[in-house]
Amino acid sequence: MSNRTTIDARKAFCPGPMMELIAALKTKEIGDEVEVLSKDKGSSNDIPLWTKKVGHQLVSNEKIDDYWSIVVKKMK
């Protein structure tokens, strides 16, 4: 069973949702999922790009009301 953690970065101007995601993934086991909630449109483009580059898996990237929910699975 994979664990899922949620980071609510909707009110975070610093260090930014993607930095929070990277820091969180470091502490997780392979197969764990991290969901980031972000109002920063940049995150919804940057996070999938980065996820692909590094080799993690993008589980979902959805716009809900005025924010994005992006779920990434740690693959390595």
Binding site: D8, C14, G16, M19, T27, G42, L49, W50, K53, V54
Partner: protein, 379 residues
């Protein structure tokens, strides 16, 4: 009944809370209706923001630290005995000495620690300036540097959000002053797809880097360093060679937090407004130790401390809450050796850097000296 207040950690946040409460609760402390104790690991209070100047020989070490007792209000009971276990279920803390302290309110302000060992080779191959010993060694390395490639490598999470840009811009000017800039390359690496976590700051930094010929590799999450071959590689598959490697290592929260089961990696789940540990009514968290997704900075610790001081004062005196934390952070940014700018932001307002001026640089230098008044509760 006596209200026992216990603070763990005598760094920036803990010291400010202690002095603020000593002043506000002077009556209760005098009458024996309250007690105020702070636990620390060291007698020396280091002003960490001053470390930024050490690598360039621009700080006198004697000005960077004071004896903790000398900046604490005399009504505060300072005990040099690190906490070994914080037991929030039974409202007590066990110290290294075996002594147990019971409390009615606890403020956890144990800060963050550097964990370069999380990245293979980083400790051996890279210099950092995040503690005094590291900053001294970085100064020696910069003094001995005669040109070549400097890689400035940023890892997350880390405290002081603007230090990556400051060290880079200051190094650029320092090498120019020494006539070495033409013989050197500076490459800055950052984990995400821009130069800084804060988007407006990243936009401001980009033309500044381009103008100064500072190169950058974004999406660079450090995988390992080869200290012998002098290369640094990223999870994204890029490798850079270096002659001098300066890093901001990744951080974790204090070991005691993890050992006490209060939060993964030492970060305590904290309510962003009340600053109470989630699920608790008497455990406050201040400074780097919280898991709130905002900057880990001295100013954050300071503004959080102000909120906690007011709330505990009101709880003790009137049994009610005073106010909530609005997420305020303020950072000066050194943009070289003689110019600076600043940003402020909170949960609702994004930061907006303004063009650098010499005046702001002086203001930062002045604040560096005024810190002792501020930590001492006088400002």
């Amino acid at each position: 009944m006596k209200t026992r207040i216990l603070i763990v950690g005598s760094g920036m946040g803990g010291t400010i809370v202690a002095n603020g409460l000593a002043r506000n609760l002077s009556h209760e402390l005098r009458n024996g209706d309250a007690s105020l104790t702070i636990l620390g690991t060291t007698n020396t209070h280091l002003y960490q923001p001053g470390l930024l100047y050490v690598p360039f020989g621009r700080a006198r070490e004697i000005e960077l630290s004071r004896n903790e007792r000398s900046i604490l209000d005399r009504r505060v009971n300072f005990i040099l005995d690190p906490a070994k276990l914080i037991d929030v279920e039974h409202n007590c803390v066990e110290c290294e000495s075996g002594k147990i302290h019971r409390y009615d309110y606890i403020i956890i302000a144990t800060g963050s620690r550097l964990v370069p060992e999380m990245i293979p080779g980083l400790k051996e191959g890279a210099h950092h300036f995040y503690d005094l010993e590291g900053a001294r060694k970085t100064r020696e390395a910069i003094d001995n540097f005669e040109g070549g490639r400097v890689v400035i490598n940023i890892n997350v999470p880390h405290k002081c959000p603007v230090a990556p840009l400051e060290i880079t811009l200051m190094l650029d000017e320092h090498l120019s002053e020494r006539g070495l800039r033409d013989k050197s390359e500076i490459i800055y690496t950052y984990p995400i797809g821009r130069l800084h976590g804060l988007e407006p700051v990243a936009h401001w930094a980009l033309p500044e880097f381009d103008r100064r010929g500072i190169q950058y590799e974004t999406f660079f999450n450090t995988k390992e360093v080869d200290p012998v071959g002098k290369t640094i590689s990223s999870e994204e598959g890029d490798t850079l060679s270096y002659d001098l490697l300066i890093t901001i290592p990744p951080h974790k929260g204090a070991a005691v937090v993890e050992a006490s089961g209060l939060g993964p990696s030492g970060w305590i789940p904290t309510d962003p407004k009340t600053l109470l540990m989630k699920g608790s009514e008497n455990v406050f968290v201040v400074g780097d130790t919280t898991d709130i997704p905002i900057s880990k900075a001295g100013s954050t610790a300071h503004f959080e401390a102000d909120t906690v001081i007011q709330n505990i004062t009101h709880l003790v005196q009137e049994g009610r809450w005073a106010r909530q934390y609005d997420g305020k952070v303020f950072c000066f940014i050194e943009t070289g050796l003689s110019s600076g700018t600043y940003i402020w932001f909170n949960y609702e307002t994004p930061p907006k850097p303004t063009p650098p001026t010499q005046m702001v640089h002086w203001a930062k230098l002045a604040y560096n000296r005024m810190y002792w008044l501020s930590a001492g509760g006088l400002l």
